[in-house]
């Protein structure tokens, strides 16, 4: 039987190797997460670092999204005489799609790069090796805690960001319409069911997991040399952002089947 060997371009081979490496790294998380010792102190530290310290950035982003989206929607909706539908349209758009995706992209830029750079720096300066020989499992201590923290904190941050975005929407809407906050909220949530929130929260958890895995993978695989720290941070952001968009696309298809 004849066999054909296809030689892929080097960049494509490297791409496939990176993807397979990330998948294996992510699978290792599920193997190690149940293994003691449980690094609770480090997990709490990461929850604080990743969650609390991203709060202001996520809040500003949400606020700006809410205002911009509302201001852009009002003129278009006025043409159809449907300005009263703006609050519910904005809330739906923010909760289901724009809030999670934009927040995740911002989160990938801030946290993905920070994890990639921090772990890359630890790898280059032999701190990860030092950890291993001192009797600590570096994957458990560094990767499991960070991945868990990104997975848990991103949904919380997105819920917070969505709330701020709705407040931003109200401020923008009240500039051109005389409406109370209570009425605005009633209108906003009139067409949202509880079931709509579940896919959105699950999706953000998956985004957080992907960002954590990719940041840690890039950090752990930084080659020797200070230059590789910058490369790890940069690659973590690029791949995480791409992953967020691809996961979102898959999620839309999947959730339309499931819910």
């Amino acid at each position: 039987m004849k066999t054909f060997k296809v030689k892929l371009p080097a960049s494509m081979r490297e791409g496939f190797l990176t993807i397979s490496g990330i998948v294996i790294f992510g699978a290792r998380y599920f193997k190690e997460v149940y293994k003691p010792p449980y690094e609770l102190k480090e997990l709490l530290k990461q929850l604080f670092e990743i969650g609390y310290k991203s709060l202001s950035l996520i809040a500003v982003t949400g606020f700006v999204i809410g205002i911009t989206l509302t201001l852009q929607s009002i003129p278009s909706m006025q043409k159809f005489g449907a300005v009263s539908l703006v609050p519910s349209m904005i809330a739906l758009a923010i909760i289901l799609e724009i809030g999670p995706v934009i927040s995740a992209l911002i989160f990938a830029g801030k946290i993905g790069s920070s994890i990639g750079a921090e772990l890359g720096s630890m790898k280059v300066s032999e701190q990860i090796d030092a950890m291993e020989i001192s009797g600590t499992n570096p994957f458990n201590h560094l990767a499991v805690t960070r991945i868990t923290a990104t997975t848990l904190m991103l949904p919380v941050l997105v819920i917070f960001s969505n709330a701020i975005a709705i407040i931003g929407g109200f401020i923008a809407f009240s500039l051109v319409n005389d409406v109370s906050f209570k009425l605005y909220l009633q209108d906003s949530f009139s067409s949202i069911k509880f079931d709509d929130l579940i896919p959105s929260v699950i999706k953000t958890g998956v985004f957080g997991f992907a960002i954590g895995v990719i940041g840690c993978y890039e950090g752990f695989n930084a080659s020797r040399g200070t230059e590789s720290v910058g490369v790890a941070a940069n690659t973590a952001v690029v791949i995480s952002s791409l992953a967020v968009i691809i996961i979102d696309m898959i999620n839309v298809q999947l959730m339309s089947i499931l819910f």
């Binding site: 300066s125 032999e126 090796d129 020989i133 001192s134 009797g135 600590t136």
Partner: protein, 245 residues
Amino acid sequence: MDRKDIILEIKNVKKSFGSFNVINNVSLSVSSGETIVILGKSGTGKSVILKCIIGLLEPDEGTIEVFGKNLFDLKPEELKLFRKKLGFLFQSGALYDSMTVRENLIFPVERHLEMKDMNFDEKTEEVLTSVGLLDAIDKMPSELSGGMKKRVGLARTLMLEPEIILYDEPTTGLDPATSKEISELIIDMQKKYKVTSLIVTHDIACAKLVANRIVILNDGVFYKEGTYEELSASDDDFIKGFFQY
């Protein structure tokens, strides 16, 4: 050398990275209490030997026996306990950037349940006093000089009370005065804690001060071994290259 005194034995170890053979059939026996210096040019695989001994790298061929046990036959939990007997001083000190000196020192002992009865604060102060850096106990690694980082790295190693300490280029990047201080510190540790030391360096002044025996590495094999006096009197051009400084 009495065989019963041998606590570390490297037998026919080979290690390659891709097509590049770094270590070619290296063998070495180290007796309890000895201080051996592995001397060689940069990039000849000296650090690779140390990383194989500590189990960070696995040799392609050969065995490494520490206290009579092959390192690579051990289960992960056994390896963890075993590594406690082996201290490793990294070239850069490898201190954890996000922790203070105190936290750096306590971190490894917290991981060993068998050491939970130790008074961490007392031990931390004791080892920092040994390396002359008690004042730096609450400083961050970024506030320390290169020499201080190596001293703290050594103090962290001593926290686990190892029986063997592996030093990876302990004086590289330091000025001559600080290099001499580090070399003297190695001798002090040897006397105080009775540890066996294996030191990788290309600093002949350090080798002269600390070594009972010097092994010269060239092209991935041990080229020659002897005392400082024996090797410094050698007619061999390659060996002379190290001692004419």
